[in-house]
Subunit: 141 residues, 4 copies
């Protein structure tokens, strides 16, 4: 599975099409795309925290969904509009303080459905904080 | 399964313990709790929208998680700290413009795990926009 | 959502098209279909049991998948071939000895995807033993 | 995460404790265990097939559950009794004719919960036929 967009092209696309994502500052940013994969960073800010300073579940779900969407975008191009149909996430351990990285792999890129796996880690750590799989419905191409 | 907190008590608890939830305005509010159930409203604002005016997936995931947490809180009380371990959501149709209601039912309230089902609808509509199930780990009580 | 097949027609269809299901005896049988719903019974036999006499997880997963498939069949008719794309199941409590009933509701019956919710109970009990949601890809109709 | 049982010990344990699994022939067999991982083979027989000769969804769900259970067993030992609490599976493509291999990785091995990821492939193929994540409740150790 080969990428058809660069990191810069994806950033520009998200900036134009999904201005709400980063309405409150550049929280989510694409870091890397390669064959079958994409990496997104969440710059953790106050709005993503729960009491005790841990990143909230919804912030990690948002990261997983956006990172998985980006992985598809990178391989399908900016025309197609993928819609999330299912997302399943397991929360595995409390993230450390600091930014999170979501590493996504395309499990399937079919005509109608794409399925993506996503592991979320604190920057610099090996252990997963959360693991998600998400399915997207693809428009006819 | 009987409730041990009123709507007012839950609102106060969330206000104190989770100020981040509504940092940007009173978006999420508990509407109703009854035996085995809870209803939460999302007052949809600009930050919850995607292009075309539809409510974003992450906004619905946040609503599902918070509403399910509230359903547990209402039956376990403010002492216990429940932690989401799994959330699975199916997106079924685009929400209409306007607020969303999440209606939650406790499927299980065990010693260690609680499982909640959550249906999300546009206010005044019968059809589901999304349907989630979520599992929470409960501390020893 | 109206049914287009009767219980008898569905039984005959499954008998002809899926002989493997009941290769070892009439374990799975459609009990009831009505608008948006279907009920299937698992006649629990030795092959469905785990040590201690409890019904195995895989037997409940098979029941959930088959019951959900049947709910779709009842509303789409015998021509269409639905394929499971996702199944999520929560196991809530050990079933009592004896048969299980799976009660399914169509959450969505779209052009391309159908989503079904399924509750599994021991016959005569109120509490759920398991709760599943499943998604099926539908062929063009 | 280090293994505490060998392949032979696991086979013997399953033979004694779960005779039903292979009541109809040696369909499921542990192939390999290593740190954090386990591989199980399904010797596909008639009972696992659907019309057209493809392996049924329930056969793959059974394989995923059993393989994930085995991965935990290998790291926790034969005393502990793990119980499946959640299983989520995405079906990605029709398996080729022939046996299936399930490759499992422990995502988390906590005090109370273990989470396992499982990829299912036809023997000799790279592409996934199915991908599952499963959660198990662990007894006090």
């Amino acid at each position: 599975m080969q990428t058809v967009m660069t990191v810069e092209e994806i950033r520009e696309f998200l900036r134009v099409e999904f201005p709400q994502i980063n309405a409150l500052g550049e929280a989510f940013s694409v870091e890397e795309v390669s064959d079958g994969q994409a990496v997104m960073r969440l710059r953790v800010g106050k709005m993503h925290l729960r009491p005790g300073g841990t990143v909230s579940g919804p912030a990690m779900m948002t990261l997983a969904d956006l990172a998985a969407y980006t992985a598809i975008l990178a391989h399908v191009g900016p025309v197609a509009l993928a819609v999330t149909t299912n997302l399943n996430i397991n929360f595995l351990k409390k993230p450390a303080e600091g930014d999170l990285l979501a590493t996504c792999s395309l499990l399937k890129l079919g005509k109608r459905l794409a399925v993506v796996e996503c592991g979320i880690r604190s920057v610099g750590e090996d252990d997963l904080c959360a693991h998600a799989t998400a399915t997207y419905s693809l428009p006819p191409r």
